[in-house]
Amino acid sequence: MNRAYIIVVGNQGAGKSVWTKKYVSATDRLFVFDPTGSYDVNYDFVDTLEAVLDKKQSKFRIGTIEPEDAEIFGDAAFGTGKCTFVVEECGLLFKRGEIIEPWARRLIFMGRHPEVDIVFVAQRASSIPIDIRSQANRVISFRQTNSDDVRALKEVFGKEFSAELSTFPDLRCLDWELGSIKKYDLTIDGEPRKSTTEAVNTLNDTDTDTETETEED
């Protein structure tokens, strides 16, 4: 079973929430932990969640702004399956160097079985615990200005492209997925601007050249 396990990082205002909101815009089974309460979901979730857990409701888009609700959401996501769980500002829930709680470990390491897609959003790549980072099959990075964060992303994007990250304007990102990297700008609605999309690298043990192609609108 494949599942999406995505990490989205970027400085404040660089575009990571724009990307994430677009990604989940059509999702009809969605849990969101969002301290800012800005997603298009139902934050008055208690009754809806009860119906979901009792299998009386199959479609839902619910969210919470409270960190203490994240465990309920994580357990509910794992228990119900075939859903997406977005964790915004994951630094509020998971601190580097601290042990990850059992509900989160279950979701991270066994979430593939109930087909739970996860999106972790953070301002700094280096602040995400290794257990969370290690499972990612897609990494989106917007502007990162701290050298520790750029260094953390070097493994994913390579030295050359990770060095560019500190110069990115808002809404520009690098998108690593299963070995291939694209660079593109988002529109304000979160769509990649086709004219800006470049396949900047395909990871290959022997490949040291960069291939670039530009798609026109």
């Binding site: 580097r96 042990i99 509900w103 066994m110 109930p114 980072r133 290690s134 990612a136 953390a152």
Partner: protein, 158 residues
């Protein structure tokens, strides 16, 4: 996968030996249990089924408490300080106009709804005690005043 592999952090991957299916059941039960606790943090339940311990369940939206949130119930209470001062001093400017009292009563009723949701029993008892003070308080003050006047009159005549 293995990206982000070089890091000085230790990886904690011990998940125990439970099977995937058991983990699903465990997660569901945990979610349900924590959701019930979450309800207890200030959200009234949607259903009003009788609890096992037979204690009366009060729902703020039910008729039981609707009367407590009626502004006309609160108007005499919010008039109490003014009425008390009229009784003590006899000065007419302490009298509240009807619309002043109505405005105070309406805002007090709104505020009471939030207190009521949290602790309806205390609200009901408090409301009774304050109502009793509203009814008897000014009369008691007038009685004391009248007796003082009678004693003063009696002293004069001696």
């Amino acid at each position: 996968m293995g990206i982000f592999s070089s890091d000085d952090q230790k990886s904690e991957t011990d998940l125990g030996t439970a099977t995937g299916h058991n983990q699903t059941d465990t997660a569901l039960l945990a979610a349900k249990g924590n959701l019930e606790k979450r309800r207890g943090r200030g959200r009234p339940p949607k259903d009003t089924a009788a609890p096992a311990d037979n204690a009366p369940r009060v729902n703020a939206a039910s008729g039981d408490l609707a009367r407590l949130f009626d502004p006309t119930v609160w108007t005499p209470l919010v008039r109490l300080p003014a009425d008390a001062m009229v009784a003590l001093t006899g000065r007419e400017f302490w009298n509240l106009q009807d619309k002043e009292a109505a405005a105070l009563g309406a805002s007090a009723a709104s505020a009471a709804q939030y207190v009521g949701i949290e602790n309806p029993k205390s609200l009901a008892i408090s409301l009774f005690l304050v109502s009793a003070i509203v009814v008897y308080g000014p009369r008691a003050l007038k009685e004391l005043d009248a007796r003082r006047a009678e004693r003063a009159e009696a002293v004069k005549l001696k």
